[in-house]
């Protein structure tokens, strides 16, 4: 049995990309990966000339690759680039990630801004995991992280937030919203929040973009390894408590047996939106009665969650 060769040259393949149909050596994989990410950015009109984009940087592979590629994109498109790191207060995890994030920003000469849950909300996820009875730590982390990232981006006058959400994340989110019977949330999923159903036309929330939306997690990891990016190779200690982890395992099993499963889930949602031809119904955005920030209901998700502690 011969070793698999690169599709583009006679070198040995390092990875089989694109639903495990295209074997590439490291050099041609990097070309394929970068081309696909830049195409996604164009397809979803993610960045305009002169905008200020802040990358939500965790120190992990996805956000590190996002930052690295947006830095590369600056060679062709002039825009401002910053990075924001959020400290959720998870001991032994975020401290290490922050070190990696700082190293990467220093290497790429990008300004890094630091915000913490402790300073903004007077809580840490470690504490929440001990006291919260109704919701798990991941629920708090997800909601507070989104809100703080929004707040941080406004503070540094960023026009958009780029995060490292990859194809695996999006496929998992689609399935999670189906399981939880959340059709409205499902339809809001979009690699550019400016373009989604119930889009952000009123600019009450900072626009979010996902440059890695079409890239499987394994390809992002491969790119990060090849490029020797500062990466944090450690699972969040709370990650395994979430339903998302179960969905992740299920999707990986399916992908092993039926390559292209995750892409088809993503495309299913894109096609569903087209078929339904829903009008961009604007949810009336109110103000949270407690903190005054934009909210769909009387209390924003953050104030509602904090009220349970």
């Amino acid at each position: 049995m011969d070793r698999i060769k690169c599709l583009e040259c006679s070198e040995q393949a390092a990875i089989i990309a694109h639903n495990r149909t295209k074997p590439y050596c490291t050099e041609h994989f990097v070309q394929y990966f970068e081309k696909k990410v830049f195409q996604t950015i164009r397809e979803y009109k993610m960045i305009r000339k002169g905008e200020h984009v802040a990358v939500g940087l965790s120190g992990g592979k996805d956000s590190s690759v996002t930052l690295y590629l947006l830095k590369k994109l600056q060679e062709r498109l002039p825009f401002k680039l910053s990075a924001i790191i959020l400290d959720e207060g998870i001991k032994g995890y975020r401290d290490e990630a922050y070190k990696k994030a700082k190293e990467l920003c220093k290497k790429l000469k990008i300004k890094l801004y630091y915000f913490s849950f402790l300073k903004e909300y007077k809580i840490t996820i470690d504490n929440v995991s001990k006291v919260s009875k109704k919701f798990g730590p991941c629920s708090y982390c997800g909601v507070l992280r989104r809100e703080l990232l929004d707040k941080a981006a406004k503070k540094i006058k960023a026009d958009k937030i780029a995060t490292g959400h990859n194809l695996d994340d999006i496929a998992q989110t689609i399935i999670l919203n189906v399981i939880r019977n959340e059709p409205k949330r499902l339809l809001r999923i979009s690699p550019n929040s400016e373009l989604g159903i119930q889009s952000n036309k009123e600019k009450k929330f900072i626009v979010r973009i996902w440059p890695l939306a079409k890239m499987p997690e394994i390809e992002v990891a491969t790119y990060a390894l090849i490029k020797n990016l500062s990466m944090h190779f450690q699972d969040c200690p709370y990650a395994f408590e979430a339903m998302r982890q179960k969905v992740r395992e299920m999707l990986n099993l399916l992908e092993d047996s039926y390559p292209g499963t995750k892409v088809r889930i993503f495309k299913f949602l894109e096609n569903l939106k087209l078929i339904l031809e829903l009008e961009d119904k604007k949810t009336e955005i109110k103000k949270c009665k407690k903190c005054g920030r934009p909210a769909a209901l009387d209390l924003c998700a953050k104030c509602k969650l904090l009220s349970y502690l």
Partner: protein, 64 residues
């Protein structure tokens, strides 16, 4: 002699496999979260199982 490392830790493997993918299946590690290096070079899991040298399996972490 073949040495297999999983997440940096040495694991004794006495069985012979046709492909690296077969080893991953036995270890219950999905191809979707495993980077494989043979003698320091990235390699697809579908490649033939080497008879000697070093195999490293790096599990991709969730999030970030």
């Amino acid at each position: 002699m073949l040495k297999v490392y999983i997440d940096g830790k040495y694991k004794k493997i006495e069985k012979n496999y046709k492909t690296i993918e077969e080893l991953l299946k036995e270890l219950e590690i999905s191809k979707q979260i495993a980077l494989v290096k043979v003698n320091g070079k990235l390699t697809p899991a579908e490649n033939p199982f080497p008879k000697n040298g070093k195999i490293e399996i790096i599990r991709v972490v969730f999030g970030g």
